[in-house]
């Protein structure tokens, strides 16, 4: 595990934190998702206007992204997480190795978020799915956390999700 702050980011986003962990270690314990999201949320929320509530909100969103990585990731390589800030928005950039055949599914799930029927598909997922799909989780982030989400292509068999979370406005 490595925590630092040296990842290059877009000019307008200030890097707050970078985290990396061997995927095998990450996948060894489901509670890593809860512990990491709680801990990292506290760290980056300390100087928000309402640190307790910002941390709670942020942890909720980050945990879902970590759980997506946990469920869809493969055991070789590393999971990388970087958090940036621009004004009221935190950007989460999460990269995790996954089977090459899975990547198009992530791409498709992300592409559906901005469609006009996103809300109705989210309601449909809540009312019919026994367990949440990766698409419904991304829809949850977009609809309940006002997140904007995009996917970045990698040369290696990995997925990078970039999720902007304007939570400071929601909390305040």
């Amino acid at each position: 595990m490595d925590v630092g702050s040296s990842v290059p980011a877009e000019a307008v986003f200030e890097p707050l934190l970078q985290f990396e962990m061997e995927m095998g270690t990450f996948l060894s314990e489901w509670q890593h998702c809860d512990h990491l999201s709680t801990y990292l949320a506290r760290m980056i929320s300390h100087n928000r206007a309402d640190p307790v509530r910002h941390s709670n909100f942020f942890s909720s969103a980050l945990n879902e992204l970590l759980e997506v990585s946990f469920r869809g990731g493969s055991s070789s390589g590393h999971i990388g997480l970087a958090i940036y800030r621009n004004g009221p928005t935190e950007r989460v950039q999460i990269t995790f190795p996954c089977p090459p055949g899975q990547i198009p599914f992530y791409r498709e799930a992300v592409s559906k978020i901005d469609r006009s029927d996103a809300h109705s598909r989210y309601l449909d997922a809540i009312s019919t799915d026994m367990a949440p799909s990766r698409e419904s989780i991304l829809l949850d982030l977009a609809i309940n956390f006002d997140a904007s989400i995009r996917i970045e292509e990698n040369t290696s068999p990995a997925v990078t999700l970039i999720v902007d979370l304007p939570l400071e406005g929601l909390v305040s």
Partner: protein
């Protein structure tokens, strides 16, 4: 009950009498199988209720989508199977994501509604959160601080500790505590957004950083168990209709061995000379009036009992008298003038006769007269008490 394999902070319960199924804490299962007991309990609760099932998620701190989908599915299926059933989900305005997530359910199933447990959470709250009262609150803190700065160390305040000021109001006590005692951490919580906005502005204006102001319900706090060495809750148990609920939460967040410090008044013991009789009459009536708003402004001397009943040991109780001689008599007079305005409005709200209100106001004016009289004396007694959470 708690569920094995999940966070020890997760709790669920069903109260058959009030038909309330409550979920609290953190629930982030990997699969539905891990929460099978909880799902079964919800199904049983639905089978048992007639009419309305209340699902209380006010203290649900975290719930992942796996749990959300599973619980929601049960509620939706039940509503589809039973036309007589209504489900009311009670969220908290403090935990923003719960209201957003659960609010969608009404669009799917009209038998499910979502209520946000929010602003009018104790009787009389609108009076004490009136922003025009802020100068009075500031003057009160200025006057009580002269006493409390020497009292607090006896109750456990010291440099380097983690402290929380619950029901912090406009946050001025937290600022004074930080300057005087340099705790390592201060969390200041209140349920009034205007008061917190004021608190943040004051802190910014004075270059005070490091106080974590947070919006929260003192009886259902997001703060985790056993976090603080010292927890203060000043002048608040007396205006909350269920002080034992607040104390339960204060007990929960303080560390074993840490202390909870409370201050409360006994308003009927406010006094002044000259014009003692008029002053005495008004403050006796004030205590009676506020009891109609479920406020017990006579609570001060009961602090020992409340702390003991909440489970604290090593209880310390002392009292002090804020007087017109502490500083500028005009400060004291300004506070009483603020009280007259606020409490006269409450008397009118309660339907008291104009003659009563005139006499009621006169007692405050006589208190001011005593405070400003060159040979006068005016007092406002306060009880400071603290208890230790057993190790």
């Amino acid at each position: 009950m708690s569920v094995a394999g999940l966070s020890p902070n997760f709790k669920m319960a069903f109260d058959a009498n009030s038909q309330v199924f409550s979920l609290a804490g953190i629930i982030r299962p990997r699969s539905v199988d891990e929460i099978a007991d909880s799902i079964a309990m919800l199904k049983q609760a639905i089978d048992d209720v007639r009419g309305v099932l209340y699902v209380d998620v006010k203290r649900l701190i975290q719930m992942n989508n796996t749990a959300f989908h599973a619980f929601v599915r049960v509620a939706l299926d039940a509503c589809r199977a039973r036309a007589d059933l209504r489900v009311v989900i009670v969220t908290s305005s403090v935990v923003g994501w719960t209201t957003r997530m659960f609010a969608h359910l009404n669009q799917i199933e009209p038998q499910i509604t979502v209520e946000v447990y929010d602003s009018t959470f104790y009787p009389g709250q609108s009076f004490v959160e009136d922003t025009s009262f802020i100068p009075v609150l500031r003057a009160q803190t200025k006057m009580t601080w002269r006493h409390e700065r020497s009292i607090l160390p006896r109750h456990g305040m010291r440099p380097g500790i983690a402290m929380a000021d619950i029901c912090c109001g406009i946050g001025d006590f937290a600022v004074l505590a930080q300057k005087e005692f340099q705790p390592a951490r201060i969390v200041a919580l209140d349920h009034s957004k205007p008061s917190l906005a004021y608190a943040r502005k004051v802190a910014a204006d004075f270059g005070v950083t490091g106080i974590e102001y947070t919006y929260g319900d003192a009886s259902e706090m997001l703060l985790e168990d056993n976090q603080f060495d010292f927890v203060t809750c000043r002048h608040s148990l007396q205006i909350f209709n269920q002080p034992e609920l607040l104390l339960k939460e204060l007990y929960r967040i303080v560390k074993p061995g840490g202390r909870v410090y409370i201050t409360n008044e006994k308003n009927s013991h406010c006094l002044g000379e000259p014009r003692a009789q008029s002053i005495q009459w008004t403050y006796n009536e004030l205590a009676r009036l506020l009891s109609h708003f479920e406020m017990d402004v006579e609570l001060g001397p009961k602090s020992r009992r409340y702390l003991a009943d909440a489970g604290f040991d090593d209880i310390l109780v002392e009292s002090f008298m804020v007087t017109n001689l502490d500083g500028a008599p005009q400060d004291f007079a300004d506070v009483i003038a603020g009280w007259e305005k606020m409490f006269a409005a409450m008397a009118a709200r309660h339907g008291e006769a104009p003659e009563f209100i005139d006499r009621f106001r006169q007692g405050f004016r006589d208190h001011i007269f005593a405070a400003l009289h060159p040979k006068g004396y005016a007092g406002w007694p306060i009880w400071a008490a603290s208890g230790r959470k057993p190790l």
